[in-house]
Symmetry: C2
Subunit: 402 residues, 2 copies
């Protein structure tokens, strides 16, 4: 059982961007479900991407990364097969898919067809089914099909994920952002393991959109972890149609909107984390610098001992202390403070005299648990959000070829 | 159920070293069990130690580390309470324990009483019960009590761990090594989370013993992982009574014997890993250097997705590929090969044409699974040994205050 949201909010269309969907049985031809989607821009658009840092990046990731700077015309995405670790043949298959979609949209020289895939690693794409599916998806497209697209990109996800926001700009107009995402396992920063597609009608140039996306991803998808595993296929794309004029004074609000969309999508991914029953928010402060804070937050967020304590609602702060110590051999423990919810548990390296076990137990009973750590040596800070480690996580992942 | 060995081998005494045991109810005064042990040298001895790199090192670790270079007289160890994250009071308590044992042995200026603790973090030691226990253990000591000591240091361990070996030296004599260890959770290199105590009658100077112990620990305890969590209390001590004369030509054989003892103890810890049902041996070759190889081996060894696949006997090599990619963003994937047991699965970045799923399934059905990874870029290599991630791991660690 995911811990919600299980219902999609209304997803506003972005004029000039259409999604088309097809069901081709990418993973299994006898079990048809929507598993191919194309995103088509009526006219060439500005786009930006954020990609996994994995060294075993999948073919579509390498393909899309290489198209940086070219105007966006269309994107093809499939679920059920990641096209990862598939060698030269995998790269050829992406090129063939892009070319097929290029024919449909009337691609011109110097424009980009992007690609994204998610699913099982190490298998070749079923091209004989996929190529007709691309044609079918293209024929079937419409501007109001964001929700259908959100469903088509799901793999082990239990619910579809989307977010939409319209903001009134200081300069007078209003701009809309709509995004969808998938992800529930192999979730960890760099990127969080996932796919995300965000459209906006704001008129943003590539440099601005790229910078906005990079910062938004860092503060949203890159703060979450389900199982500590980085995927081969993570990517987030943002496409800006440019229909709403933007002045320099609008940019802060636009970036705020993009960040909000990313945060909502990241939160949905966390709440659909494999086997999740509780979420923890780990706020680290007082670190030497932000990198130091991130290392400590990350170690606590991914510690199996902390994660199982969270599942068991056991406020076993010794495990948090253990993880902090593992993260940093140079730690000055006598400066460290730990808070569970509002309660100080350890202050300057020593158990707070007033802390009582019942206080921690009260905090750990909730669906969302706040853990704050002050390292007491500087101004670095970081937030990481993570899930518990439950029986269902094992069940989901120990089953044959999940 | 651990996957054996569940029976201790015969543990040979080391002349001049005695263990004494007492039951004081360190954790719970109403549940008496052997939980205090003292190791006493008849005459001052050479000793060496290897200690956790955790930044939240427990008081006894800090205490013992600070006694490097002083001749060994005795050691006090307790289970049930780690005396970690206990501030100044924790340090005072170690000093008090050492002083009590020092009175018993007639400690002279410039000699060392060492200390080690294992158990729950963040609680103060029950000194009112512990101090009389030290006296009782001292009074009760004998040279043949290694097995009793192995039981007294257990916490969540299911079986006691010990190893013993006598070797004939090239120079004519014969030397004996006997060791005991504990550990089953919070197990990960730097040190593997554990306590270990090894005695020998060989006449080794401190420099030689320290170097031998450092190398042996690196190739034994530091290759194993159960849950990726480093403890606050890891340490391994080696004590050499010097009764057996040693010539320079004996040293290689002595180091081999020490390494063998450490490997046997490390193997026992792995087989008693929390919830373990299968073990994997991850051999990485062809890395840029040994550090690179270690990083890749470590990432595969601790990946929850790989560990759950191992539990499910699912030869899902895509998860191994994902973990390799996470370990190294600069990976040249087209040079990577992966073998499951004798079967090549991926060769130079592509699935081997002859590989069949049934081959991987056959390998993953065994209790011990060999995974070999060739990164194809250099001569660096590393071995890591790890466990699966099972329902029982969750059960053991989600229960209240395990």
């Amino acid at each position: 059982m995911p811990i919600g949201p299980t219902q999609l909010p209304d997803l506003q269309p972005i004029a000039g961007l259409s999604w088309g969907i097809a069901s081709v049985g990418v993973k299994n031809p006898t079990r048809l479900r929507p598993d191919v989607a194309v995103l088509v821009a009526e006219t060439p658009c500005v786009w930006a991407g954020a990609f996994t840092l994995s060294g075993s990046r999948a073919a579509p990731v390498r393909w899309s990364e290489a198209r940086k700077g070219l105007p966006f015309r269309a994107l093809v995405v499939n679920s059920g097969n990641a096209n990862a670790c598939t060698g030269n043949r995998g790269m050829e298959d992406v090129a063939t898919c892009a070319s097929r979609l290029g024919q449909a949209v009337g691609l011109e020289e110097g424009q980009a067809i992007l690609a994204a895939s998610t699913g099982v690693i190490g298998e070749l794409l079923p091209m004989e089914r996929l190529l007709p599916g691309i044609d079918a998806a293209f024929a079937d497209r419409g501007e109001t099909r964001w929700e259908d697209a959100a469903r088509a990109i799901m793999t082990t996800d239990i619910f579809a994920k989307g977010a939409s926001l319209t903001v009134d700009l200081p300069s007078g107009g209003s701009a809309t952002f709509t995004g969808i995402a998938k992800g529930s396992g192999m979730i960890h920063p760099n990127m969080a393991t996932m796919l995300g597609f965000i459209g906006t009608d704001a008129d943003l140039d590539e440099t601005t959109l790229s910078a906005m996306l990079r910062r938004s991803v860092e503060e949203s998808f890159n703060t979450i972890s389900v199982d500590g595993d980085t995927s081969t296929n993570d990517c987030v794309f943002a496409v800006a149609t440019g229909r709403v004029a933007v002045e320099p004074r609008d940019k802060e609000m636009l970036e705020g909107a993009l960040l909000e969309i990313c945060k909502q999508l990241a939160d949905a991914i966390l709440r659909d984390g494999e086997g999740v029953t509780r979420i923890m928010n780990i706020q680290v402060e007082g670190a030497r610098d932000d990198t130091h804070a991130k290392k400590v937050a990350d170690t606590v967020a991914t510690s199996p001992l902390v994660k199982t304590a969270l599942f068991g609602a056991d406020p076993n702060w010794g495990r948090i202390a253990g993880a902090i110590g593992r993260a940093d051999p140079e730690l000055e423990w006598e400066r460290v403070s730990i808070y569970l919810g509002p309660y100080p548990v350890v202050v300057e390296g020593q158990r707070h005299p007033d802390y009582r076990e019942e206080q921690g137990a009260e905090v750990f009973k909730a669906q969302e648990v706040d853990i704050a750590i002050d390292l007491g040596v500087g101004r670095g800070r970081a937030l990481k959000r993570s899930t518990d480690l439950s029986y269902d996580y094992i069940k989901i992942n120990a089953d044959y070829r999940s």
